[in-house]
């Protein structure tokens, strides 16, 4: 049996809406946050979990981490049912909520870690080696004596990660970990997650809206929409379905270059620069490049696949999300 095993998971929320007449009478509406969601995850996988806002990503994570009780279906993580054996379960998991801190606000982060050591009952030797290891990997050495409230967002995320990994969890949940981070922090964070996944063998489940996270980290991606699982597989396979546009930009040495292109391909010209877009299903990229080169001396030429955010937006649109 796989490490995480989810079968026909159901979660419903009852939303009370105020009706116009009579403040006391409220209409109840049931929202199915998750509908018959099933999937398996093996130990050591790094899985990306995407979907538009309100798709049910966080709800899934909260059920898997034992915070919420589902209304139907079966879930086991390492053989445990999260909401039934909460304490045994959470000893083996780490959770980082992108927008909610788990450390203490006014004290140096090292003090927070010391308290976490007691909460998780980590032995002193284990704690020392693990803390040293994480301090180095996350470059927290200079920050240990700084109160959390004085850290920048990027530093804080690193501090949070350290806190959630001190007890060497088998499984790490990350809920939008790169939200609001600058480029350097994002790259550093991704590098660290890869290290943790490879070196420590930690299974990582990551929800995000940043497609670059998925491209950089996740060999496998799962798409959720309206509470249903819509896709589960490799990123390439997912994008292949919606990858319908190539953009080629070419700069010529001479201004009058006019390549012969099949009719119906939109061309936009700006001085010596030409931009064309076409579908890779209809025309081979090699043929396009050959035609462009035949028209003059090419100084520079770039071929761009469709922007990944647009791809995902197109995908969500088609899936009617």
């Amino acid at each position: 049996m796989s490490y995480i095993c989810v079968r026909d998971l159901e979660k419903r929320f009852v939303i009370r809406e105020k009706r116009k007449k009579g403040a006391l009478l409220r209409e109840k509406k049931t929202v199915r946050a998750l509908q018959e969601v099933s999937f398996d995850v093996d130990q050591g996988e790094l899985l990306g979990y995407i979907g538009p806002n309100g798709a049910g990503k966080s709800t899934t994570v909260k059920i898997l981490s034992g915070i919420l009780t589902p209304d139907g279906g079966e879930v086991t993580v390492g053989g445990r049912v999260p909401w039934q054996e909460r304490k045994e379960h959470v000893r083996q998991i780490g959770v980082v909520f992108g927008q909610r801190t788990q450390l203490w606000w006014d004290v140096p982060i090292r003090d927070s870690y010391d308290l976490l050591k007691d909460i998780y009952r980590i032995s002193p030797e284990d704690y020392r080696t693990r803390l040293a290891e994480l301090t180095e990997a996350l470059q927290l050495g200079d920050l240990m004596r700084t109160p959390l409230r004085q850290l920048s967002l990027g530093q804080r995320m690193r501090a949070e990660l350290c806190g959630s990994l001190l007890h060497r969890p088998e499984l790490l949940f990350l809920d939008e970990p790169t939200i609001g981070l600058d480029a350097v922090s994002k790259l550093g964070l991704r590098e660290f997650l890869q290290w943790e996944n490879k070196q420590q063998g930690t299974t990582i489940l990551l929800t995000t809206h940043d497609m670059e996270d998925i491209v950089a980290l996740c060999p496998r991606v799962m798409v959720l929409g309206h509470g249903q699982k819509l896709f589960d597989g490799s990123l390439a396979a997912l994008l292949g379905r919606y990858d319908t546009i190539r953009t080629v930009t070419v700069s010529y040495e001479e201004a009058e270059a006019a390549p012969e292109l099949p009719s119906g391909i939109p061309v936009s010209r700006e001085g010596k620069n030409l931009t064309i877009t076409y579908s890779p299903d209809e025309y081979a990229t090699a043929e396009m490049i050959a035609r462009l080169q035949a028209a003059g001396t090419v100084r520079e030429l770039t071929v761009q696949p469709q922007n990944i955010d647009r791809l995902v937006a197109a995908m969500y649109r088609e899936m009617d999300l």
């Binding site: 919420l68 909520f97 909610r100 606000w105 909460i119 998780y120």
Partner: protein, 266 residues
């Protein structure tokens, strides 16, 4: 044992973090003194004007006031996690953080806050106890000291239970602060005076539903040598346990309610 160590460790850290803002801490502690001093002044004025209330003399009244103050503010000081934070934690979804750690929810909530500023309130209550004990000429015995300790402990547990009601309401996203405050802060203000000074509905409320009378007044009256309700001695020892029973029932309700916990946001 391990849990107590965790609690003490948390307290040390929280107090250190509060002392990061020393002036604010000092001023707030002082404000607490003024507040509780005012409450005490009300009793002093009452005693000055009437000398006694039913069969209770000035010393008795100070004693009851002190017993309630010490109990209530010890609870607010060391149980701040429940009396102050709990509803907030539930409403904002901060409870998630506790649920993903391998410790009891109650332990972690208790470890989440401490309010050392209440020390001045406890001191006022302590002073009232000493003055009252002197004026009422209580002859202290080991049994009386033990009974008073039991009363304070059980009273504290009762107060924690009362505050927990609000957290339960918050799970169902019902704002109910006023209703619950009537029992907690209202109960404190009312039960600074012995229960038999009140009309029947209030007597029932604070004896049966929120048993301040059973946890504090019954043992208090016995210590003063004027047993309430004419109860025998063994009943005086059993009566404060009602506070623990009350807490246990509320805690059971909370755990049931947690199945409906919805957390918040992403």
């Amino acid at each position: 044992m391990d849990t107590i160590r965790l609690y003490l460790h948390s307290m040390r850290m929280l107090i250190r973090s509060q002392l990061q803002y020393p002036i604010s801490f000092f001023l707030q502690t002082l404000a607490q003194l003024v507040m509780e001093g005012g409450e005490m002044l009300a009793v002093i004025l009452l005693v000055d004007r009437f000398e006694h209330l039913n069969q209770w003399g000035a010393g008795d009244l100070y004693f009851f006031f002190g017993l309630m103050s010490v109990t209530f503010y010890l609870t607010e000081c060391f149980g701040r996690g429940i009396t102050g934070n709990f509803p907030y934690l539930v409403r904002t979804g901060q409870l998630d953080t506790f649920l993903v750690r391998p410790r009891g929810v109650l332990t972690q909530v208790m470890c989440s806050a401490v309010d050392p500023r209440r020390i001045t309130c406890i001191a006022v209550g302590g002073a009232a106890l000493i003055i009252g004990s002197g004026m009422a000429a209580i002859e202290w015995t080991a049994a009386k000291v033990l009974l008073m300790a039991e009363a304070i402990l059980c009273g504290s547990i009762l107060i924690l239970g009362l505050f927990m009601i609000e957290a339960i309401f918050c799970i169902y996203s019902v704002k109910s602060i006023e209703l619950v405050n009537a029992l907690t802060y209202g109960g404190r203000s009312a039960c600074e005076y012995p229960i038999d000074t009140y009309p029947r509905p209030l007597r029932v409320l604070f004896t049966v539903f929120a048993p301040f009378a059973l946890t504090l007044h019954v043992p208090g009256a016995w210590i003063l040598g004027k047993p309430l309700f004419g109860w025998p001695e063994w009943a005086v020892w059993v009566s404060p346990v009602s506070g623990i029973v009350f807490f246990w029932v509320i805690w059971g309700c909370f755990q049931k309610a947690m199945r409906h916990y919805r957390s918040t946001g992403s």
